[in-house]
């Protein structure tokens, strides 16, 4: 023991120094990395915003999708977006690692089909009220001139319908076109097998006792 303590290069001392040195080196590296690769801002808001449908309809109670993303980041419910529907809720739930709730009916119901605004141009009086209401700048027109909707830019947010003094704006459903058509998934297997029960012997009805 005394020999160990007296010796300048005892294995114990060397080990202590080596470990201490390593700790310092790694600590320095970690400290440097923490400064160098610091994440600016809250990236979760960006991610949430990218999941939201960007209709800017305000049905969630926020003036746009990004404010709602910020709201969610601050702990708001994630089921307030009817245009996004259950799909968006699921995506957000997946991102945040929470259970996906049902869409809150208080904020509206999910539309079966996407819609776009359509101005009945004969009736338009050119008041520009819808133009001011459109968050997308998707309505073209001028004062006392007929207005029309740029369909490709319309998100179907509904906000132009209410301000129209002559009620000449309809929300029409966007039908499938040849270009937007896509194959549908086959009927779920469970449904089919339920319809045709006797696939294999053990699926046959047990009641009756009639041997086939």
């Amino acid at each position: 023991m005394t020999e160990l303590l007296n010796s300048d290069f005892s294995p114990l001392i060397i080990a202590l120094f080596v470990l201490g040195g390593l700790a310092l080196v790694f600590g320095a590296i970690l400290g440097f990395a923490a400064v160098k690769y610091k994440v600016e801002g809250d990236p979760i808001v960006e991610q949430l915003d990218s999941l939201l449908p960007q209709t800017q309809c305000g049905q969630c109670g926020h003036p746009g999708c990004r404010p709602y993303a910020e709201g969610i980041a601050n702990g708001e419910e994630i089921n307030k977006c009817p245009p996004g529907g259950q799909e968006t809720i699921n995506a957000i739930a997946g991102l945040l690692g929470v259970d996906a709730p049902e869409l809150d009916a208080e904020h509206g119901t999910e539309a079966e089909l996407p819609t776009v605004a359509y101005i009945r141009e004969d009736e338009c009086i050119g008041c520009t009220k819808c133009i001011q209401a459109c968050p997308m700048d998707a309505i073209l027109g001028a004062a006392k001139q007929m207005h029309t909707v740029i369909v490709d830019e319309c998100t179907g947010c509904d906000l132009c319908v209410e301000p129209c003094p002559v009620d000449c704006i309809d929300m029409i459903e966007v039908g499938t076109t040849l270009r937007s058509w896509k194959w549908q998934l086959p009927e779920p297997l469970e449904k089919i097998s339920h319809m045709n029960e006797s696939i294999i012997a053990t699926d046959a009805p047990k009641a009756g006792g009639q041997a086939s």
Binding site: D49, M136, L178, S180, W183, P188
Partner: protein, 797 residues
């Protein structure tokens, strides 16, 4: 020349069923009653119709021009009249109608004049491409990719291999087989045109499966003929020598673009890439023939070979069809029996789709019409659960994991699907074909791919929406900021204008006054009075404001102190007293200020009346003002006298008496020396009186001093000469408050009694003295002593 071939991963061997359609010769195209030309027969933007309803068109006439680069022209395939441009049923898996140009054929089949080119190899590449583009050629193998686009590969991509696809791996279909048998030479000519366009690639391969021996023979014969024929001087012999016909074992789906490239070159097209990226261009033999027709004969793509096959037909075989011929017309010419056919299929059994409407026209990509009987092609057996056998993975020619894709498709996990490269699936159907559970796997993949594409489109749209929304937001903010800036500028301008106006106003009165002065030169007095009044008016308002300010601030201070005092009522006694004194002080100041204010107001009133008087009777003003001056002096003097303490007053009178005494002694001495006895006597009398008075005053001073000493309450005699009355009062109040605060009530009482006793003592002394001297003031002294005695009795009681 033997060309190496390479194995294809996966692949299946479905029943070929190619014999049925190869029994009869190729038929000529029928002229239907009506042609229906869909505007979208290719990948890319739909063509743009350039004819109107009612126009008469000739065969080969362009009726729709390409809409952008990624598009193809459409030509009338027979002469007739355009009767409609409207939505018609299409040969599309959706079964949806689409825009079509409908031509009622006149049956004459008159062609518009074609412009053949005898030596197309001497044309420039641009000219060739223009011809191909004008001919509306799109890939005829199945996808319908515009040929002109494909033949203009990326500038930096060096094409080393040109492959002609004569594989035709789908069961039943023999259209390309027949084409190769009948037009082998044209195919080779076409390939030479392609070789020229692609800067003469090193190898030109014509890939044919070994189940088409006749086609292989025909091609080899044609190649040998071309090489032997020296009449085609313009041909590039190098290209010709590079051509090789390659046959390889039949296997489905070797005819897929990527699969054929892999078989012939052992190169794999990268995921998401194009064959051009690995130096390969692949064209279908049908497309190649159409290109040759276009550049050599100027003939647009208006017809093609289609296999019409199936047990519900009386005859089966291949036929030339005019593009746009309705399916029912073609089927009818083969003796179609709808009752024997459960479903009509456009394309082959592996990759084709059900044709819902028999009126759907044949288009540039229609290589087969399959009208099978139910026995020939029974309904697909029921889907069962995946047993994880892995056969699909073995069959997949793209080396994907179909089982994983199936699970992720069912759970709609797009991220995982993309991670498993679902987009590389060629939808060949090999996996579905081998699946022992009859799972329609391809349908899952197609649906998922559609969903993924849709998601991407939605994402793009939402990104654009976000950008538009944010842009609008910044625009609105900017407009708002500009408005605000304008408002601020306006406000500033208004203020500046106001200030200017005020300045002008200030300058104005002086000018009017001067004019007034000039106009009424009555007298200097009047003017002076007016000026004085004005000055007073200007000054007093200021002073008034000052006094008012002082009053309010004093009031404030008092209130502050009072509140503080209330707060500290329970605090220590000295603190309390201090605050109390402060309160009192403040109250005093308030009183003073109020007094001054009222005084000032009164003064002002009088001044105002004076000025009005001055205005009405100006000449009387000056004496009045002059009279005011001595009065004011007297007042001031009296005030000064008032301000003096009694001691000082006595001292002052003593000194004045002494000076007077000194003067009268001087006068007496002078009179005595003059010898004026009477005067001297009178002076002596006055001197005596003065001396008497001085004695009285001296006594009074002594008395006063003793009383001052006897009253310790007044710790600090008021320095009256320095301070004005108000200050003296404040000082007094302060000291009294301080004294009373330090003393308890009993002590105070005692002190008062003490002082009163002293004063009584003194008064009695004086009274006794006065009685001794027989003074006239005895009565007054007596009364004073009585009063003091009374007070003392009161206090003691």
């Amino acid at each position: 020349m033997s060309q190496l071939i390479y194995p294809l991963p996966g692949g299946v061997h479905p029943p070929e069923n190619k014999q049925q359609s190869l029994q009869s010769a190729l038929r000529a195209a029928i002229i239907p009653k009506q042609l229906v030309l869909p505007l979208s027969q290719h990948i890319g933007a739909p063509a743009h119709a350039i004819v109107n309803v009612g126009d008469r068109v000739l065969a080969g006439q362009m009726v729709a021009k390409p809409n952008g680069v990624f598009s193809a022209a459409i030509h009338a395939s027979s002469s007739g009249e355009v009767v409609a441009i409207e939505d018609r049923p299409l040969a599309h898996p959706s079964g949806m109608p689409g825009p079509c140009i409908v031509i009622n054929c006149d049956g004459e089949d008159r062609w518009q004049e074609l412009t053949p080119c005898i030596s197309p190899f001497e044309l420039s590449n641009d000219e060739l491409l223009t011809k191909i583009r004008d001919a509306g050629i799109a890939g005829m193998g199945g996808a319908g990719f515009p040929a002109a686009v494909k033949l203009k590969p990326p500038v930096n991509a060096q094409i080393s291999t040109l492959i002609l696809n004569g594989t035709e791996c789908e069961p039943y279909i023999t259209a390309d087989d027949v084409l190769m048998q009948t037009r082998a030479k044209d195919i080779l000519f076409g390939s030479l045109v392609l070789a020229k366009l692609l800067q003469h690639p090193e190898t030109i391969l014509v890939g044919v499966e070994d189940n088409k021996p006749k086609a292989i023979v025909a091609l080899e014969q044609a190649l040998a003929d071309l090489k032997a024929d020296k009449s085609h001087g313009a041909l590039n012999l190098q290209d010709l020598n590079n051509i090789s016909i390659v046959s390889f074992p039949t296997e489905y789906p070797s005819g897929g673009e990527k699969q054929l490239i892999q078989i012939l070159t052992n190169k794999e097209v990268p995921s998401g890439g194009l064959p051009a990226h690995i130096g390969v261009v692949l064209q279908n033999v049908g497309t190649t023939t159409a290109i040759w027709d276009a550049v050599r004969f100027g003939k647009p793509l208006v017809e093609r070979i289609t296999t019409v096959v199936g047990e519900s037909l009386k005859e089966q075989g291949n036929t030339l069809v005019r593009i746009g011929t309705p399916s029912e017309d073609v089927l009818a010419s083969f003796g179609f029996n709808p009752e024997h056919c459960e479903r009509l299929i456009a394309g082959g059994p592996m990759m084709g789709f059900s044709l819902d409407d028999i009126r759907a026209p044949l288009v540039k990509t229609s290589n087969c019409l399959l009208a099978p009987s139910p026995q020939e092609m029974p309904a697909p057996p029921m889907e069962q659960a995946c047993i994880r056998c892995g056969q699909c993975a073995e069959a997949c020619p793209a080396s994907l994991l179909p089982q994983q894709l199936y699970w992720y498709s069912r759970s709609k996990d797009h991220e995982k699907l993309e991670a498993h490269n679902i987009m590389d699936c060629i939808e060949c159907g090999a996996c579905s074909f081998v699946c022992p559970s009859n799972i329609p796997l391809v349908q899952y993949y197609r649906a998922s791919k559609g969903d993924i594409r849709q998601t991407a489109i939605d994402k793009e749209k939402s990104d654009r929406s976000r950008a538009r929304f944010e842009f609008r937001q910044t625009r609105i903010d900017k407009a708002e900021a500009e408005k605000e800036a304008k408002r601020a500028a306006r406000k500033q301008a208004a203020e500046a204008a106001k200030a200017k106006a005020a300045l002008a106003k200030a300058a104005d009165p002086t000018s009017t006054e001067s004019t007034n002065q000039a106009a009424t030169p009555q007298s200097d007095l009047v003017a002076a009075a007016v000026a004085r009044a004005q000055a007073q008016q200007a000054d007093p308002t200021e002073q008034l404001a000052k006094f008012e300010r002082a009053l309010s601030s004093a009031e404030n201070r008092r209130d502050n102190a009072q509140s503080k005092w209330q707060e500290c009522e329970e605090a220590e006694a000295d603190l309390k007293s201090k605050l109390e004194s402060r309160v009192k002080q403040a109250q005093l100041r308030v009183d003073e200020a109020a007094k001054k204010l009222t005084q000032f107001k009164a003064e002002q009133k009088s001044a105002a009346s004076v000025t009005t008087a001055a205005n009405t009777a100006a000449p009387d003003q000056t004496p009045a003002v002059d009279m005011n001056d001595p009065v004011a002096a007297a007042i001031a003097k009296a005030q000064a006298r008032n301000a003096m303490s009694p001691g000082d007053k006595l001292a002052a009178s003593l000194s004045s008496l002494e000076t007077r005494l000194a003067k009268s002694e001087e006068k007496l001495a002078a009179a005595k020396s003059d010898g004026d006895d009477t005067k001297a006597e009178a002076l002596q009398l006055g001197l005596d009186k003065l001396q008497q008075k001085i004695a009285v005053v001296q006594q009074e001073i002594a008395e006063h001093k003793s009383t001052a000493l006897a009253e310790p309450k007044i710790a600090k005699p008021a320095p009256a000469k320095e301070l004005d009355a108000a200050a003296a009062a404040i000082e007094k109040a302060k000291s009294r408050a301080a004294a009373s605060a330090t003393m308890s009530p009993e002590e105070k009482h005692q002190a008062q009694i003490e002082s009163l006793k002293k004063r009584l003592q003194k008064a009695e002394d004086r009274l006794a003295k006065a009685e001794q001297e027989n003074d006239e003031n005895v009565g007054a002294f007596k009364a004073g002593a009585d009063k003091l005695r009374e007070k003392l009795a009161q206090l003691e009681a």
